[in-house]
Symmetry: C2
Subunit: 338 residues, 2 copies
DNA sequence: CTGTTAGCGCGTTCAG
DNA sequence: CTGAACGCGCTAACAG
């Protein structure tokens, strides 16, 4: 059972003044006697008064809170986005509430409901890998709550988005693999509904094409981002009559998993099979062998997305702008490919 | 500018019934005509009504939200605790708001204020490395808001705590180093105000003592958990006339940093210097060489702490229990020590 | 089963 | 500069 906390009324009574005066003293209101203000502030301090954001939000119809919906927090990627986002949010006077969808569509819907009940002023979203219908996300727009996508964006909604150049990143990476002499480059591609999956695959294909390497569909594995299945795919690949000499995984956790599996089979990396990932996760530099990957400015993504969101919040609905910011990637070459 | 969302009154008007009836229909109230209820529910769905938690919390004096204050989210440790906590919280119908103190005392105070303004029903706290005064945390207790510590706990407050047996973990680890033949075991010890630092150091000392190894104060480095300084300390250690043959770092990120530095100096691990950490972070198994460490049931810590907290929330203040749960650790031996 | 009333804690009029 | 009155959206208590 919760006990009631100190309120403005308590202070007003103790000082024998009106609540509105106390309220004014507490909110930098211009018309207030400095002495009254001082007295209120001191008593507030003494009584450990803490303003009740619930009431304030209720009356101002603004919570100064933004919601973030991410697929997961286990890997470092989304955690880092959140770090960047929180920093930008706090600087602008916003708090942040975080929901994980656990890559599950239904849970994403339930997350939307939480955000809506909490009356967040705006939301940052990176969809689950199974999200193909966007009605639940469109509810935000309809209610006048701005939404900004990052990383896993949605083509069907005309809203601000923050992405990296996945095509170019994958292209550069694949070209690097070709340059070190690899010709049979396998790709663990992500689910087709995610644009990042498609773009990365397109970059991979474009690089092969540029270097006149025939595309072998057998080497392109549709993969649902479930790490448990990587073993099956890698086994399949290394048992092909015409084995791959490189594996480009859609992301770093997958690439790291690939490396573990190859090592357990005494396959030499990169001599027999080179391995590359995408995103440059925190520990990718430290694993054995260090992983070649495409670095993303992850914290920056969170920061930019949050700034775009707060900008939308401060606009009238009719003035919403649907800017897409594309940030640069950087090829990071490490020993897993050289 | 935010536009107002659909309210109970809107539904009441549309159906030409009273708001209380709508409210009852929306809240599984027993006394309600099934037909009225059906009509309300359908209209609510159609109008995309979403209950306003701000109002509900204001009147029920309960937010069904718990706050978590952690020092940082960069490393996987606290992220994983949060994963465990969120799971337990959601299961019990609670949401979670997260604040990072960034290892900064003043920011921790500001986090406390955020939690207080948000009227969380309870808080989970792991202190910053600089927290030596606990007045800000005691404010929760005084206001009847239960607090549960985990990992970095506070001896001065008699509240529930969830920890692991740091002494035993460090003891087993140090003993393992001794068993593989190491005698000059250095320790990068954490700040003395953190109990985990002291316990781990005590475990280390106890193991040395048990095996009659003289304690060399020169090998015990007081370290403030700032990764940037690790290089200085490692350099200092390897330039000692009587070098260490093992380094036990207070946590895994530090140990991984130590490994990078030793490798850059062509010092062989573990032959020249063995390295061990604490907590078994996500990637510690994959780095080169794989890191020997003491595994903690991290997600479990979050889960147990949250359950204890919710239990406190459901109790009357006078029935609060100050249980300390100590979870087991497990020595994980990998190639950095063998 | 339903409607009316009061009030949660606060900001914001409008009068003085 | 200060006070009184109203209302944000909702639940709870009391009447019917």
């Amino acid at each position: 059972m919760k006990s009631r906390q100190v309120t403005i009324i308590d202070i007003a009574k103790a000082l024998n003044i009106s609540k509105s005066t106390v309220s004014r003293a507490l909110t930098n209101h211009p018309n207030i006697n400095p002495e009254t203000k001082k007295a209120v502030l001191e008593l507030a301090q003494e009584m450990d008064y803490q303003r009740n954001m619930l009431s304030i939000s209720l009356v101002t119809n603004k919570t100064n809170t933004i919601g973030i919906i991410v697929p997961e927090l286990v890997n470092s990627y989304f955690s880092r986005v959140i770090i960047g986002s929180q920093e930008a949010a706090y600087r602008a006077g916003y708090n942040v509430i975080i929901c994980q969808s656990n890559e599950n569509y239904d849970q994403e819907i339930s997350n939307v409901n939480i955000m809506l009940s909490s009356r967040v002023d705006g939301v940052l979203v990176s969809m689950t890998k199974e999200t193909r219908n966007f009605d639940h996300l469109k509810r935000f727009e309809k209610k006048g709550i701005p939404i900004v996508f990052f990383n896993r964006v949605c083509d069907e909604m005309i809203v601000p988005k923050v992405i990296v150049d996945d095509f170019e990143g994958a292209f550069k990476l694949t070209e690097h693999l070709i340059e070190i002499g690899k010709r049979r480059i396998a790709h663990l591609a992500g689910p087709d509904n995610l644009i990042i999956s498609r773009k990365r695959k397109e970059g991979y294909l474009a690089a092969l094409k540029k270097h006149q390497i025939d595309i072998d569909e057998e080497l392109i594995i549709p993969y649902d981002l479930n790490l448990d299945k990587v073993k099956i795919y890698v086994n399949h690949l290394i048992n092909l009559p015409n084995k791959p000499d490189a594996i480009f995984a859609i992301n770093d956790p997958t690439a790291i998993e690939v490396i573990q599996i190859l090592k357990s089979k005494k396959i030499r990396i990169p001599t027999d099979i080179a391995v590359a990932g995408f995103s440059n996760d925190n520990y990718s530099a430290f694993i054995d062998p260090p992983l070649t990957t495409v670095a993303q400015p992850v914290e920056e993504i969170g920061k930019v997305a949050t700034e775009l969101l707060i900008d939308q919040i401060n606009r009238d609905v009719k003035d919403w702008k649907a800017i897409t910011k594309m940030l640069d990637t950087q090829l990071v070459i490490r020993n897993s490919t050289q």
